[in-house]
């Protein structure tokens, strides 16, 4: 115990020393008021009245999806691979899925409190509104597709907890629907990436050529859909209880 305290306090002191050196004494040269040429370029071109511009007063979104667009594109693909990996490890075929649903349906049904349910309904509506405003204004105010999508996934998780996965699946939030919506989001992103090259004769991801702010808006909406339903897919697959999973797999062994 005493050793732990010494370790913790020494970490804290080291951190305070580094923070003091970097911020007050400016050892690494990160501080200062002057604007570097690269920053000046971004600030000047992200929102301009003439020339190639991203039409985005929010410079962070302009950098993320335009000036450093390929980084974000490949990041989306990495997310896609992660979800496909999870799905392929935990997949069940049609017959097994039916068996799993049967077993889940036979589980004793736990009812949450009325207060919890009513509050959750209000809070979920608020979170969805906030996430939509984060994602759809992504090119005007701080935020963007990924941030809005993860907030939206949290709203769906709240519904999972307050009601049940079974109720949501009966209302139509099944694995097939979430995967289709995920694919639609990815397709919108890909279409926006390819459009400048094939329609306007530019290069891939040169979304400055698209009319007005459609480029950034489309990419934000695509990422919003993709992230929301990507997370939901993983949660739906992981939400199958362990004993149901084992039961179904054991039946497969016995066959």
């Amino acid at each position: 115990m005493k050793r732990d305290v010494i370790v913790a306090v020494s970490f804290l002191l080291a951190f305070l020393f580094i923070a003091y050196a970097v911020t007050i004494k400016n050892v690494l040269g990160l501080g200062g008021e002057e604007l570097r040429p690269l920053g000046e370029f971004y600030l000047g071109h992200a929102f301009a009245h003439e020339g190639l511009t991203s039409h985005s007063p929010e410079v962070v979104t302009a950098i993320v999806w335009n000036y450093r667009g390929f980084d974000t594109l490949f990041e989306t693909f990495v997310f896609f691979l992660a979800i496909m990996g999870a799905l392929s490890v935990l997949r069940l075929d049609k017959e097994q899925l039916r068996q799993a649903r049967e077993l889940e349906g036979g589980m004793p049904h736990r009812q949450m409190d009325l207060i919890v349910k009513a509050t959750t309904k209000f809070v979920v509506v608020m979170i969805i509104a906030i996430s939509a405003s984060i994602a759809l204004h992504g090119h005007l105010t701080p935020g963007g597709g990924f941030q809005g999508g993860s907030a939206m996934a949290v709203a769906a998780l709240l519904l999972f907890a307050a009601f049940s996965k079974f109720t949501l699946e009966r209302k139509g939030l099944t694995l097939r629907h979430t995967i289709s919506a995920y694919a639609a989001g990815l397709a919108l992103i890909l279409a926006t990436v390819l459009a400048p090259a094939f329609i306007y004769g530019g290069r891939l991801l040169e979304i400055n050529l698209l009319p007005g702010e459609t480029g950034l808006f489309n990419l934000d909406v695509g990422e919003y859909t993709a992230v929301t339903f990507g997370f939901l897919t993983v949660f739906l697959v992981l939400g199958i209880p362990e004993w149901v999973f084992k039961n179904v797999l054991r039946r497969e062994l016995n066959d």
Binding site: D4, L12, A19, I134, Q147, S150, L157
Partner: protein
């Protein structure tokens, strides 16, 4: 003269460190998860003071919402208490 927002930053991140230490030492995994989400809330405040609202929006939703839910799902498939040294 130390500026006020830097002082607040140091305090907030120190609290984050304290909570991450508590989360590491906790043997009840669900409690450790709660402590780690408190830590991420403090770090999110730190990001806000560093003028990075984009990071705050993603970090809060992921660290407090999605990450917590994923780890709860993982815990539900194993045991809640960490035993042995």
């Amino acid at each position: 003269m130390i500026e006020l927002h830097l002082l607040i930053l140091v305090i907030v991140v120190s609290f984050g460190f304290v909570f991450s230490y508590l989360a590491m030492k906790e043997h009840d995994l669900l409690k450790a998860l709660a402590l780690s989400s408190v830590q991420s809330t403090f770090f999110a405040l730190g990001f806000y003071i560093l003028a990075a609202p984009d990071i705050v929006l993603a970090y809060l939703a992921i660290a407090v919402g999605a990450y917590t839910a994923l780890v709860i799902l993982a815990i539900s498939k194993t045991e809640r208490y960490e035993v042995g040294e």
